[in-house]
Symmetry: C2
Subunit: 235 residues, 2 copies
Amino acid sequence: MIRRLPQARSRGIPEATVARLPLYLRALTALTERGVTTVSSEDLAEAAGVNSAKLRKDLSHLGSYGTRGVGYDVEYLIYQISRELGLTQDWAVAIVGVGNLGRALANYGGFVSRGFRVAALFDSDPGVVGDHIAGLNVEHIDELETVIKRRGVSIVVIATPADAAQQVCDRVIAAGVTSILNFAPVVLSVPDGVDVRKVDLSIELQILAFHEQRKANREGGGPAMAEDWQQGASA
Amino acid sequence: MIRRLPQARSRGIPEATVARLPLYLRALTALTERGVTTVSSEDLAEAAGVNSAKLRKDLSHLGSYGTRGVGYDVEYLIYQISRELGLTQDWAVAIVGVGNLGRALANYGGFVSRGFRVAALFDSDPGVVGDHIAGLNVEHIDELETVIKRRGVSIVVIATPADAAQQVCDRVIAAGVTSILNFAPVVLSVPDGVDVRKVDLSIELQILAFHEQRKANREGGGPAMAEDWQQGASA
DNA sequence: CCTTGTGAAGCGATTCACAGCG
DNA sequence: CGCTGTGAATCGCTTCACAAGG
């Protein structure tokens, strides 16, 4: 679903590690705000919700930034992780589709806090174009290519209905964008070199439902349909 | 970050497979709407954005629902996957925190479409309590335990600010909830047997930024800070 | 002959356990 | 002595390649 980048492991950082670095960054930021200047792998791992061996292995991919017998310098580690993730530069993000979700994203503080700047909002609905949301003017989708280029947008968030997503995707790629965060419940097809991440709220709920059902069945009975379970796979 | 359930693999379905079943379900639903009644692993895999060997292995964990030389019956497979995911029953979901995101989630059609029913909305802000959103009355957080029990809520979505999330989490667990979808940017600590999944919008962007930076550096130059790269990890 | 279902090989990530170093 | 950094063992998922079967 996510087309792997040609050299995702270029300098040798595993994808799984990259996905956890933001977690460490968040934990470190929280520590700094509490005035903590040094932290052990044990404590940082606890704060980030992972185990300490994994944390140390992850950090070892960035370099040897700890001090044996002591731990890690919080500020320094924040800087190194930020640099590795590319958060020391400013990223212009555009959000396409200003429905409920797009609006929520535009107003979401977590974006701005880490080098991300919402630089443009687009919609195709004339009733929405021209609205001011989070200090931005909603522009018509016709302006997509022009505005993306003019404002140097490098990451696009797709928050459109499912049936518009692929079309928007094609257009932003044609405009030079190679990083897309997709909230629409469709599989986007993209050429090599374009990175797509997806968030599907309904999928997360379905995974929870699976486990919830498991738990209910184990505890004896459950809410419903506990009958045809152990009868094998015969059609 | 996600505490593994004791018997996540009970009847032997790998987590990775569970996470893809909703994807297959979506692809199958789309096929059915186009009138397709039978599909090969090759075609279904393509529609779901995975490779066909993986799809066949995944489905084989549910049973032998295909016909060699022919493929899978679309309707039948939809039923089997739905049943496995627990979507043949009705799940009452509560959303805590009716800010921009909570509102968007309450109005999100994808929830309702698959056995999920938003049964309650909570907020602590008196200015929001009493509002009608998506046909529901927003209730005060004080009613959390009562309403959860009365309406049989089994899945809770936390869409509160970060500093309220743990407290809400503790309360819903005390009320008997064991499945939580967390949008707040904090690591929730929960007892064994409680399943937490998290969605962090800012983390997804950070992962994209990492790859984007890689691409920019490889293509020669990039937007900024292309200097101190190849100089090793010396502090 | 076509497509499923699956042993077996391959691969990446996690975990263990301890050597190395401040 | 304590904590980091890491080779080695392990685990689980993916992919291959083909036997089984309509």
